[in-house]
C-alpha cells in the first residue's frame, strides 16, 4: 500500500511572541510539526504495519520545514517531499494544488492522510480541496481507518455521534486527534532520520499559479481578550461547586 501523509511546519504557538502592538512575531518564530499532523503520520505508519508498503510525507513550506519532515521520518516514514513555497504567501487552494501535483508526480497512492486542521491557521480547507484536485473520495473527521482491498471503512467523529462510512480506495482522509496516540521517535531514530531521502521541489514550477487570484495577507494581530477577574470564596467544597457552576455557565464545561 502506498500512503501519502501531508504535514505542515506550523508556528509553535507555545513559543510565539506578541509585539507591543499586538502583532505576532512570525519572522524567526520557532516552528514545529502541526499538532494533529502527528496523528496523520501515526495512522499512516499503522496502515503500513498492517498492509506493508511505503509512507511518503509531503509538505508545502520553506526550507525550515525540514525540521518537521525529519520528525515525520524519525517517527518511521520512508521518505519526504518538500514543495518549496512560503505558506504565508500561498492560500489553502494553492497549497492543496501544490500538494496534489507533488502527490500525482510520486503516485499513484492508495491512501492520502491529512489532519483536520493545522495548529496555526486551522482553516481545514486543504484536505477537501486536495481530494478534489486528486479526483479522490474525501472523508473528514476520521477517527478510525480500516482499509480492506478496494474499499475502506472510516469512522467519523461528528458533534454528538460517530458515523461509519465506506469509501473506495484511493481516498483522502482528514484525521482527528482521537484516532491514535502518536509515537515518540527515539533519539536513535531522530539521528537516523537525516539519512532518509528528502526531496525538494519548486512549488511554482510544480503547480504554476497561472491566472489564479488569491487574497493576500495585509495584517495579523492578536484578538484582545478581557479577563473577568471572578473571585470565588467559601470552603474548598463550596468553592469547588461554585467554580464548576461558573465554568459550566461560561461553556467551558459541558452542561
Amino acid at each position: 500500500m502506498k500512503i501519502a501523509v501531508c504535514v505542515k511546519h506550523a508556528v509553535d504557538e507555545t513559543e510565539l511572541k506578541i509585539d507591543p502592538s499586538g502583532r505576532p512575531q512570525l519572522t524567526g518564530a520557532v516552528g514545529k510539526m502541526s499538532t494533529f499532523d502527528k496523528n496523520a503520520v501515526e495512522e499512516g505508519l499503522r496502515l503500513k504495519t498492517t498492509h506493508s508498503g511505503e509512507v511518503v510525507v509531503f509538505t508545502v513550506g520553506t526550507a525550515d520545514s525540514k525540521k518537521t519532515m525529519k520528525e515525520a521520518l524519525a517517527m518511521g516514514a520512508d521518505r519526504g517531499v518538500i514543495v518549496l513555497a512560503d505558506p504565508l504567501e500561498v492560500d489553502a487552494a494553492r497549497t492543496a494544488g501544490m500538494l496534489a501535483a507533488a502527490i500525482k508526480r510520486g503516485g499513484p497512492f492508495d491512501v492520502v492522510l491529512c489532519s483536520e486542521g493545522s495548529s496555526d491557521a486551522y482553516t481545514g480547507l486543504v484536505p477537501p480541496m486536495l481530494a478534489e484536485f486528486l479526483g479522490m473520495a474525501y472523508v473528514g473527521y476520521a477517527r478510525k481507518v480500516e482499509v480492506s482491498g478496494a474499499s475502506a471503512r472510516i469512522g467519523r467523529s461528528l458533534e454528538d455521534s460517530v458515523e461509519v462510512v465506506e469509501t473506495p480506495v484511493p481516498f483522502v482522509a482528514a484525521v482527528v486527534s482521537e484516532i491514535n496516540e502518536p509515537r515518540y521517535p527515539t533519539l536513535i531514530q531522530i539521528m537516523q532520520a537525516s539519512k532518509k531521502p528528502l526531496e525538494e521541489l519548486n512549488g511554482e514550477q510544480l503547480a504554476p499559479a497561472g491566472d489564479y487570484k488569491q487574497a493576500s495577507l495585509v495584517s495579523m494581530s492578536a484578538q484582545p481578550s478581557s479577563r473577568k477577574h471572578v473571585v470565588i470564596q467559601g470552603s474548598p467544597e463550596e468553592a469547588a461547586a461554585k467554580l464548576v457552576d461558573a465554568l459550566t455557565k461560561e461553556g467551558v464545561l459541558p452542561k
Binding site: T14, E15, P185, L187
Partner: protein
Amino acid sequence: MAIYNAEHRRLMEMFYPSDNQEYSEVLSSLGTFMQKEILPVSPKLDTGEVPIMGPRKALFEQGMCRIPFPAKYGGLGLPFSVYANAVELLGTADASIALSIEIHNAVAEGLLRYGSEEQRKKYLQRIVSGKSLASFALTEPASGSDAGNMATTAERKGGDYIINGSKMFITNAGEADLYLVFAKTRRGPSCFIVEAPNPGLKFGGELGKLGMKGSKTSEVIFSDCRVPVEDHMGEEGKGADYAKEILHGARIVVAALNVGIAQIAYSKALAYTKARRAFGKSIAEFQLIREKIADMKTGISAGRLLYFYASKVKESGEDFSSEASQAKVFATEMSLRVCDHAIQIHGGYGYTTDDLHRHWRDARLLTIGEGTSEVLRMLIARRELARSL
C-alpha cells in the same frame, strides 16, 4: 513554555555553529517527551504515588543515556554538553529521575574510561541502553569526600575478590543491576563491578530524605561478597583517582540538573507574580519582587553558561576539574536561592504547597552530594593557585 526553549537553542548555536541543528532536534524531542510524560507525574514521584521505575524506563527507551557515548557501545556519540543539557531538561521535569539517571551514566562514564574492552562489551552497552540500571557506591558511613579513608575491603582469594564493608547514601541501591564499588585491596582503593543479585550483597532500609524522594537511597552492605577477578576494573590502588575523575564529569551534570530545578521553580514564581494581586495591583509591579525575578533569572543564565563552558573544556580533553567544580558550586547554591525566592514570592502558599517547596527540598541535596561546596571550593582554589604558578 517548552522545557527545551529558544534560550537553549541559541546556546547550542553559539557553542556548535555547524552541528547545532541536529543537537537541537534531539533535545527538542526529548524535551517534548519530558513535558508530556515526565513533568505531569513529577509531584506523584515526590509523594510516592508513582514509583520511579516506569518513567525512568521510558526515558531509557527514548535513548537519554545513549547521548554522550560512542556508537560502538550503543551510544549516539554526541557532545557531553548535549547530554548535560538533556539532564537540565530532566531536572526541570523531575529532579529525582534526573539524579537516578545521572548516577547511572556516571558508572557508564567510568566503564568507558577505565574498563577493559571485555568489561565495556559486557556491561557498557547494557547500561547505555538502560537494560541494566547502574549505581555508584563510594561514600561510606564514616567517609565521604575523603574517599581515601574508605573502610570497605577487597581481599583476593583465588579467582575472586571478597568484599566486606558498607557504603552509605547510595542512589539506586536495591534497584540497580550493577554496582561500581570502591574497596581497599593491599595496594589501596580499587574499583569493582558487582552484579546483583549476589549472595554477599545486601541493602539497608530505604533512607528517609528531605527531597529527591522519587529516587531510592539506601545503605549497601557487602558481607563476604564474592566478585570474579574479571570484574575488577582498572589497576589496583588507583580506585580513588578513578572515583575523582568520574565525579568531575558528574559534577557538570549535577550543575545542569540544578539549573533545571531552578528553572521550574522560577517559571512557577514568574507565573505567580503575574497572577497574584496585592494592594490593588499585580505583585509583579513591586520593585522588591522584580529584584527577585532579576536575580533568579540572572543566576539561571549564569549557571547554564558555566555548565556549558565546563562541558566544552571537558570535550577538549583538557583538565576540567576546576571548571566542573565552579559550575557545581555555583549552580547548586544558585538553585537553592532561586527555590527559596520562589517560596518567598508564593508566601504562605509556597510554604504549604508540596508542588512548590519540593523543588527547594530536591535542590538541597546537591550542595552536599557528589562533592560538598566546601570541598569543591578547596579544589577550585588549589587548582587555580597551581595554574597561576
